[in-house]
């Protein structure tokens, strides 16, 4: 039998009755019945109605939807101060309803409304000073922690340190090799097309060498590491934050900065320059391949041209870039991880922000360093 309902008010009493088959499977055949039932009953609750009686004669079957409908009706009746009689319901339904109604609903207070565009813009702007202060605080904490470390007053587990060195150093070698070798190839290839016009293919060697060592090597390594390592820092520390592992550290009086951030910052500060040197060599090897195999430059003259223009100061400038990038990547990753919220999507947001902010940081830092050294005429 189809689910049917009847709602009648007599002498101040509203009788709400349901009969027929009300299981989810039978309801699927006549969609919306339950919704109509609830809304009719709710709208009938007005005028001189002082009591609500729920009955279910000739009920063939029921499960959650009907119970939920009765529950919604009863709760609304209670909130309007009406009395509710559930004694006419079949065995089992009344006790369940009693259990559900036993705990009064929590007063939800003012419901948050979705902010409009301007409100969101305003909130973002207003949040800026706070975030800036927070970042400065974080950098301060890390600096103090490093000071403690170098004066021998902070310990950071050497096992963690080795792990970081291995994960962001050795394990990154294949991807760094591939990307920088290809970048060297590309640089040589593109520049040779222009230099050919002047018959100056030989300068491909110095062009690749200087640009790889001075800026391209460090930037490429930085970008690879921010995607690889910075993201993993944020995700690892972020999920520790979700599991309250960070609080557990603080609870033992262990500073999360010393324990989690310091090894990562130091590890990356050591590893980024080393990886950069490696990337420089791989990039130059890529250029060498193009120069020797495609442009027909003699290997010896390629090497001579490279060494003629590649001075030690370029190497130092490149390494300075790398050191700065190492700090930027690890600080961005750890900051986003430590400030991560307490749910799964917060970890995702933290990881995204870590990568985005470290790449932006790398580009900005490169421009600043380049401007400084141009002014210094190096």
């Amino acid at each position: 039998m189809q689910p049917t309902f009847d709602i009648t008010a007599r002498q101040g009493e509203l009788v709400v009755s349901a009969s027929g088959a009300w299981e989810k499977t039978s309801l699927a055949a006549c969609p919306g019945t339950c919704e109509t039932f609830t809304s009719r009953a709710l709208s009938a609750m007005q005028g001189d109605v002082r009591a609500v009686r729920l009955i279910a004669p000739e009920l063939e079957g029921w499960d959650s939807p009907l119970l939920a409908a009765f529950h919604t009706i009863a709760r609304e009746a209670f909130s309007r101060g009406l009395s509710v009689d559930v004694s006419g319901l079949p065995d089992g339904m009344a006790p369940m309803l009693d259990m559900a109604l036993a705990v009064p609903p929590r007063d939800q207070g003012v419901k948050k409304t979705e902010p409009g565009f301007l409100e969101m813009l305003g909130e973002k702007c207003l949040a800026w000073p706070g975030i800036t202060l927070d970042v400065v605080n974080f950098i301060g904490e890390v600096s103090q922690s490093m000071a403690r470390f170098f004066t021998g007053r902070a310990s950071c587990s050497s096992r963690d340190m080795w792990n970081v060195l291995r994960e962001c150093g050795v394990d990154a070698l294949p991807i760094v090799t591939l990307t920088s070798l290809l970048l060297g190839l590309i640089l040589a290839f593109v520049s040779s097309m222009q230099l050919k016009l002047f018959g100056a293919e030989i300068y491909v060697a110095s062009l690749v060498g200087v640009s790889m060592v001075r800026v391209m090597g460090p930037v490429l390594t930085g970008i690879v590491l921010s995607g690889r390592t910075g993201a993993s820092f944020a995700a690892v520390i972020g999920s520790m934050q979700v599991n309250e592992e960070v609080d557990a550290l603080t609870g033992f009086g262990i500073s999360p900065t010393d324990f989690l951030v310091l090894p990562r910052v130091l590890g990356l500060a050591v590893m980024t320059p080393l990886l950069t040197l490696y990337a420089d060599v791989a990039g130059m090897a890529g250029g060498f391949l193009v120069g020797v195999l495609m442009l027909g430059i003699a290997p010896a003259s390629y090497l001579a041209n490279t060494l003629e223009f590649l001075t030690m100061s370029y190497v130092w400038i490149g390494l300075l870039h790398a050191l700065v990038f190492g700090f930027i990547i690890s600080l961005c990753g750890c900051y986003q991880g430590i400030r991560c919220g307490r749910n799964a999507s917060a970890v995702g947001r933290a990881t995204t922000s870590a990568v985005v902010s470290s790449i932006v940081g790398i580009i900005v830092a490169t421009s600043v360093i380049t401007i400084i050294f141009t002014v210094l005429d190096l």
Binding site: P31, S64, A69, T72, P95, A100, P105, Q108
Partner: protein, 260 residues
Amino acid sequence: MSDAIADNAAVTAQNVTVAYGSRVVQSGLSFTVRKGDIFIIMGGSGCGKSSLLRVLMGLTPPAQGAVYYGKENFWGAPVKEREAIMRRTGVMFQSGALWTSRTLAENVALPLEYYTSLSPREIRDIAAFKLALVGLAGFEDFYPSEISGGMRKRAGLARALALDPDVVYFDEPSAGLDPVSAARLDELILQLRDTLGMTVVVVTHELASIFTIANNSVFLDAKTKTMIAGGDPHELLKSGPDDVVEFLTRGKGRDRGGIA
């Protein structure tokens, strides 16, 4: 094999071995959970209770043996049928395992949206009802991170009940709850069994709950790596093996007289 299964069996384990790789946690487990039972899996810490639960609820396959739902061999069935069976079971995980990026109402509503053709309003009403049933009326729009651990557990139960399952699994339901909430949860479990005819399988150490709700059980032993007793815990208390009696009485004494 399957003709040996009684008609009133909800879940049957036949000679099940639970293992992680080559490390056997429990072996030779055979028991029947009858329809409408409140079945307790008990045993000391680390004896493999939760691992057995994962096998029963269909999350990890047993290393050996079979699990039957009714008369259907669960792990021998094709994936589609296994999913259909799993839809008829509900699980309350130890720490709630709520989806953190959804509100409590959305947590309960998700399975309903997937598997029923109810309207959004009806689903919303059902979610509100299930939450009210576990004492969380008015918390529909809260996120799991905004409520306490005990409340998260109860919300996990509301979600387990979303699809009106035939079998509900509880992993340590009362751990982390205050005595009143724990007792209320026991009452709710009994109520669900009595009114909806649900079969309930519980992993617990809580003796108060064991004796209030259980009418069937299995006792896993960590040393011999197998079950050493099974049946109604009240009977076990009278005539069970010494280890089981000790487990069931030690704690009882402690419940009454404090730690000493």
